[in-house]
């Protein structure tokens, strides 16, 4: 049945309904409605489905702060690179996306070429298994991600603890989504007509955690899934709200998302992590939106065990990743896009991560033939 959600025939029939509705709404507003997604997987799914170009002229789809690698601040990127460079006795474990993200002077990939030990893991559980199999090595796992990844990293600490491993630690750059959306929606310059909420973050947090989008900011919101039919459904439900002059936080992904979310995952996150102030690329410091390991787990906290002193740096010169993440511009508006900044020679993280808006735009939507 899940295959039906990717059925191109059904997609075409839905699109035939969607386009006139989008045109009607654009007619009311006097311009195309602007909807923002805040999830790296939505960025990719929208680009891959071609939905943006199919709706061009009647609806605009923008990316927001949804790619965890992209929103990591320059200072945090520099911090982990400095750790890898200074401590060749450590093994830095990371998700693959992080390898090529340019720091101010280097990247994890470049440091690996210079002798740093960097291992790519698909799951934090693999990093724990690696630590168990290499007792002579100290493994530092780089925790990057939102509410979807933080519980998994918390469980990796639990596993290391129950297995009595003393050579596993986590460098947490984890962040939570609701508070950065508050920051985004409070920006008077922001002009969006609706939000597509991240389906898998909401699987953990629950739909209710995002009620504030509609109740406090009066912006229509729909929790969206990731198959083409899910995305079109979410866009349809947003358009209906805009057309009807309503603002609600609607669950468009009920096969996974519950009102309360995944209580077990929320409990585990609370047990291991505490909210802290954290820097976001494009946003600056967003109070209480970061997750640091609690003091009782400081033995597994790489920030405590292997501190590195790195000041916050400005983003790479000319890089507009921050404005892309705030939905102020689309990737192709950046003067570096596809000129100085390409997936092969990325200047900023939005062009590196497969979930980054610029990388997705470059790969799927940029009319390369015209340039």
């Amino acid at each position: 049945m899940l295959n039906k959600l990717r059925d191109p025939e059904l997609g075409k029939r839905i699109l035939a309904k969607l386009v006139p509705l989008a045109q009607e709404v654009a007619g009311h507003l006097g311009r195309p409605a602007i909807f923002m997604e805040v999830c790296g997987t939505h960025t990719m799914a929208i680009a891959r489905s071609g939905l943006r170009s199919l709706l061009a002229g009647s609806l605009e789809l923008r990316s927001g702060p949804g790619c965890p690698v992209c929103v990591t601040s320059q200072g945090d990127i520099d911090r982990v690179i400095a750790l890898a460079a200074a401590r060749h006795d450590l093994v830095i474990g990371t998700f693959g996306d992080m390898m090529r993200v340019p720091g101010t002077n280097s990247s994890l990939e470049q440091e690996r070429a210079r002798g740093a030990r960097v291992e790519i893991f698909y799951s934090p559980a693999e990093a724990v298994t690696f630590a168990a199999g290499h007792p002579q090595d100290e493994v530092v796992f780089l925790g990057v991600g939102f509410e979807t990844t933080a519980p998994a990293v918390a469980l990796s600490v639990a596993a290391a603890s129950s297995r009595g491993l003393e050579n596993y630690a986590v460098l947490s750059f984890h962040k939570t989504v609701p508070l950065v959306l508050e920051n985004l929606l409070s920006d008077p310059e922001l002009k969006i007509d609706g939000l597509l909420l991240p389906g898998h973050v909401c699987t953990v947090t629950g739909r209710r955690a995002f009620d504030f989008v509609a109740t406090k900011y009066n912006v229509p919101a729909v929790v969206a899934g990731f198959e083409p039919v899910d995305l079109m459904k979410a866009v349809y439900l947003l358009l209906k709200q805009v057309a009807g002059g309503r603002a609600e936080t609607v669950n468009g992904y009920p096969r996974l998302v519950r009102e309360e979310g995944n209580n077990k995952a929320k409990e585990i996150m609370r047990e291991y992590f505490e909210p802290v102030n954290v820097q976001w690329r494009g946003f600056g410091e967003v109070p209480q939106s970061g997750l640091a390991l609690r003091d009782s787990f400081s033995f597994y906290d790489a920030a405590v065990r292997f501190p590195v002193d790195v000041a916050e740096s400005p983003p790479p010169r000319g890089c507009a990743c921050g404005d892309v993440l705030k939905g102020k511009i689309v990737s192709s508006d950046c003067p570096l896009f596809a000129r100085k900044c390409t997936p092969l020679q990325p200047v900023g993280p939005c062009m590196v991560s497969t979930e980054g808006a610029c990388a997705a735009y470059y790969q799927y939507e940029w009319p390369k033939a015209e340039v």
């Binding site: 049945m1 991600g145 979807t148 990844t149 519980p151 898998h200 039919v229 009920p254 996974l256």
Partner: protein
């Protein structure tokens, strides 16, 4: 990182907190510590970075498709 992959459960081991799921023809062992609901082979899970984060309710998927059929047949 935020990439979720749906998988069909083929084997469950509660005491060791894992299940084997099949996605797009590939079988993989995933951690099910975050799943409170009962799990039996044939269920579907959403998997993130090696951990199941939610059980997929197929009835809701069916209802969603039926709603589309209604919308598409209206007017």
């Amino acid at each position: 990182m935020c990439l979720g992959i749906p998988g069909k459960v083929v084997e469950v081991n509660r005491s060791e907190s894992w299940a084997v799921v099949e996605s797009f023809g590939v079988r993989k062992k995933v951690d099910i510590a975050l799943i409170d609901e009962d799990l039996v082979p044939g269920d579907y899970l959403m998997v993130h970075a090696g951990y199941a984060i939610g059980k997929i309710n197929l009835e809701d998927a069916q209802i969603s498709l039926e709603l589309w059929e209604e919308i598409l047949h209206a007017e």
